[in-house]
Symmetry: C2
Subunit: 368 residues, 2 copies
Amino acid sequence: MTEFKIDITLTENPKQKPDFAHLDFGKNFTDHMFIVDYTKGKGWHDARIVPYQPITLDPAAMVFHYGQTVFEGLKAYHTSEEEVLLFRPDMNMKRLNRSNDRLCIPHIDEELALNGIKKLIDLEREWVPTAEGTSLYVRPFIIATEPYLGVAPSKRYQFIVILSPVGAYYKEGINPVKIAVERQFVRATIGGTGNAKTAGNYAGSLKAQEVAEADGYSQVLWLDGRENKYIEEVGSMNIFFKINGEVVTPMLNGSILEGVTRDSILKLLAHWNIPVSERKLSMEELYEAYQQGLVEEAFGTGTAAVISPVGELFWENEKLVINGGKTGELSKKLYDTLTGIQLGTESDPFGWTVKVEKQEPATLSQTN
Amino acid sequence: MTEFKIDITLTENPKQKPDFAHLDFGKNFTDHMFIVDYTKGKGWHDARIVPYQPITLDPAAMVFHYGQTVFEGLKAYHTSEEEVLLFRPDMNMKRLNRSNDRLCIPHIDEELALNGIKKLIDLEREWVPTAEGTSLYVRPFIIATEPYLGVAPSKRYQFIVILSPVGAYYKEGINPVKIAVERQFVRATIGGTGNAKTAGNYAGSLKAQEVAEADGYSQVLWLDGRENKYIEEVGSMNIFFKINGEVVTPMLNGSILEGVTRDSILKLLAHWNIPVSERKLSMEELYEAYQQGLVEEAFGTGTAAVISPVGELFWENEKLVINGGKTGELSKKLYDTLTGIQLGTESDPFGWTVKVEKQEPATLSQTN
Ligand SMILES: Cc1ncc(COP(=O)(O)O)c(C=O)c1O
Ligand SMILES: Cc1ncc(COP(=O)(O)O)c(C=O)c1O
């Protein structure tokens, strides 16, 4: 039994908190961060909470050159009972290790990682905003730090967690977004890194996003990399369609990110006995259904936006307007239910929320 | 006319130079580095040479999360006339900007970048190793430095150049390598980032490389991401085959990196009137030609290894042994000619080498 001790060094200069009523996404960071080092032969070591501070790396550190890095994104919510809840954080820790597998980064103990996150949030309790739609965004990430210009897995890494109080991801709130189906660029392909949460996927997506925005669309809908035919996902969300009473979402095929929100929605829909299928869905099929008036709703799902209704889809010079460009009934119900569970105002039949306990012990132990 | 001034701060603690007779690739770095900052609205500014030192970045710096980064790789050679030569550095600067386009990074003035590189090398002249097969590896790279967790192009960047005296890339030297044709993983696909020199492509390649190495192969041969059928490139090299007297290399299709060595070889072969074609080449076609005894040579090409003969190709449980596992005549001739041009011992009919002048002026000017 290894003992994980988390050393804590408190800041001597607490920051002025931002205006919680007007929070931009991902621009403000709290007073502390959680760090664990990895050294080949030694494993993960020196778990510590330190004042939020710059990372200092050799210019040859491998993350700068070969992008060996993974990340996660989850949120902590402030409840009306003055509690702080995390939403399915175990899912993020599992996905982190799946991403690690793909990127040849050593597994991190999920309990250590989660305990560090909880302890950090506990310390930053005052940074969890309370207004509707706000939350504390949690960003765990791992970077390869060995200074070496050969293309090979690094021998050294850092696992780091930073926290950012955030408002709504989309300024539009739960209002529908317009998205453009991407024809030229590809996000991911089978055999690539699409189902890992790794930096390169996002770097590669910027260009299409830039073009779409210039055309007045807020995101792109990615098609598969092999045939440019099947719907995959949207920007940083998974995608769902309600077609003729049935909810359809692209099946996990190795190039789509396995969203925690996606999984939660599938479970909620099944719980409500709403017909749902995970399968291949081509743009052609969707277009035909649209022409027959069968596409009832469309929505993206992700931690940042929770549910983001899609009001318009641009495809081959045509604007497909969905549900009159308005938020659909099911989209709204899913949004209300999910955010209700996250905030502790709705019952939590699946036991998805995890309370951040006050004053956790400084020493955590685990079994391997 | 903007004036680019390069400020120079010399180190007060010159490093002990490594043993130039036993240089590992990419592990030793010189005393100084070249840096230029970019700020949106201001452009590239503050070009400077400073002592080699750690990079200090906010933990939210976008390069860590979304991998917005590009790099280059070229070499400086020490000639018997005590000169230092660069090989086609203009090609690297052009490719850097093509990579920038794909990654939504602002163009950098190619003359500024190259002048910075030359000035830095001039300063580090004593670090250019002289023994056969050695050189000074030059690594320019750009990283997104804005601290922001939204997926969007960064508003701040740093262009950095570091230098590393290197020995041969492959311990085997010009001896043939064994490579395995990759069936499960994909490096790049059309519409993706394959033809940009960006970190994510390399991160995604580690897993296949790890598997191949465990099986005793030094590199993988990548097939295309759409059909897993057509030959693309090898590890960090382009690939050539001599089939029945004709030299064949995969055509540039958007997912293959446009190697400077590849281009140089195409020009040399044309110059020598050796039949050469850039076209689609499937593994099936290569296999059939192999069975008919028509595959005469195979070699990878890249800055690091220059020419790397392929002695064995593993494909569907079969070992294709090429030229008896030995270095082919053409491979050898290309290696000798290219390294001869690079070292200034062979004539340079294309004007490929660029001399690093001594004591360039500290102030460089250019016209836009
Ligand atoms: C590419 C991509 N797809 C989908 C999602 C949705 O995943 P989750 O619901 O776990 O946030 C994300 C992450 O936020 C993402 O980056
Ligand atoms: C993926 C890849 N292909 C090919 C090459 C060869 O390019 P060059 O000849 O410019 O070094 C490289 C770079 O070194 C590379 O990284």
